[in-house]
Amino acid sequence: MSAPLTHTYRSGEVHRFDAQGQDFIYLVSAGAIFALDGAVGEVLSMLDGVEMAHGDLITALTGSGYSAADAEDLVRELRLARVIVSDQTVAAPAPAKPEGDYPLQALVLNITNQCNLACTYCYEFGADKIATPNGKPKYMTIDTAKASVDLLLAQSGGRPAVHITFFGGETLMNFPLLRQVVAYATDQATAQGRTITFSLTTNATLLTDDIIEFLATEQIGVTVSIDGPKEMQDKRRVYKSGKGSYDVIEPKLRKLIARHRTRAITARVTLSKGVTDVVSIFRHLREDIGFHEVGFAPVTESGEQAYALGEEGMVTVLEQFHLLADEWLDYALKGRMHGFSNVSETIGELVQGTNKSHPCGAGLGLLGVSPSGDLSPCHRFTDADSHVMGHVSSGIDRKAQGEFLAKGHVGAKYECQSCWARPLCAGGCHHEAFVRYGDTGHANLHYCDWIREWTDTCLKIQGTLAVQNPEFLEKFAERKGLS
């Protein structure tokens, strides 16, 4: 007689957490979240750091009071879901590499590389800049813009809806072009029976009543780069003379938010040394000025700049993030949106169970276009000779794109392989990695602990809502995973 096949089990790659007295796991191989009963907890505890043969595991479970049949069912369920893995099981594959001709979804048009501000930390003009704009056009021409639109529509593989983001420099320094592009792109998309949506990022200094009217009428999403109340905004977001920009933008922002109701108006805050009081920045921007959503990100720098947040700053920021996260949850339990984007975005991805092959859509569904028409992985690589990925006239350079994506794939980042937060992080921003380590494919090791703690916080929020207000999570089901 033959001996039956024997399995030896170990715990799968799971991150355990609890919320409201309920145990959960985040299943790393998939990005799935499950609530557990006591039996699963018991199996995971038995397999904590040790391996057990099938028979031994069944015996241990029957010893705990389960019938043999129940124990077999339990073990099979956990094995099929890969919560436990057998030495006989083929390992779960890393997230698949997207197809070589992955269709475009969005373009970021840098319609000018000129700016009327001189923010000291700027990644385009500051100490760590990678852009090489010398001798290149400063303003995009309408021909280049039209070629960009044509490229987007041709390379988007029949997606019913595509998106253009206008960017700079200061975007509104080339507003006449923006206006023409919106008209041209809308006509072209409509002729193909497709829709196209628009957004822009601006420092808000050049907003006028006419521009606000146009943005509202054309339903153009607006993100404003702003660092908070006057004393924080004016620290680094300054004119070339050194004068702060707060007094110029404040009345314009109030007008914008009062008039523009067709799209969310969001604030994007750069945290830097001395600008870490996240809660008061949030209060000012959300409650006083009236932004719908406020998102925060630490400044990108090489690790040596005076404006760097540093370890200490990151700790302060995380503490403040927790305060706002608690508030976010309180709002959510009452069915209300709070406006702290850093939680909303993460929850959006957790609800879907995103398991990323790449940290973001750069070079994949999204490309940047410089004023000259050069393509790049995203707006942060605009005008950088080191990262040209084709030209709007000649198309996407598939070789450069392939190399960029091969480097940036989470499976190519050694340190990420043992990290449970990789389904969402995938190693972090390509541009930040390049500035910090000189390699877009390097994992952003300087914020790993931070990312894990933040992901754990958001998992607990998700768990709490799953127990107390699951309907609220439904609102995120359709929310875009990558933004």
Partner: protein, 113 residues
Amino acid sequence: MKHLRPINQKAKAIDASVEAQTAAMQEDVVALQQQVRPHVPMGCTLSFSPGWEVDASGGTAGLCQPVERDIYDCYVTCFWPVQVPDHVNYSPDWASNCSAAAKDWRSLDIIFP
């Protein structure tokens, strides 16, 4: 699933997949000696020689055909005087429909001497 409750969309997809696999197992063919065990496909073997394969556990009880079935290698490469087709005396054409065993093994029939 009984013990895991899906909380996000990916978990729901896994739930559906596990349910489908579990349901498929209820209908599956398993060897008689098999207890309630993780499923091993029947008839899987690493060496192909009709009649001589071993199953995933190294035995012959789990093969897709009974080992007692006529043994091709004995017919082709050696003389085995009992109970297998004899290409010299009474079954000269037994394998004539089987030009490539890996492809045509299904056309080998049982012989009743």
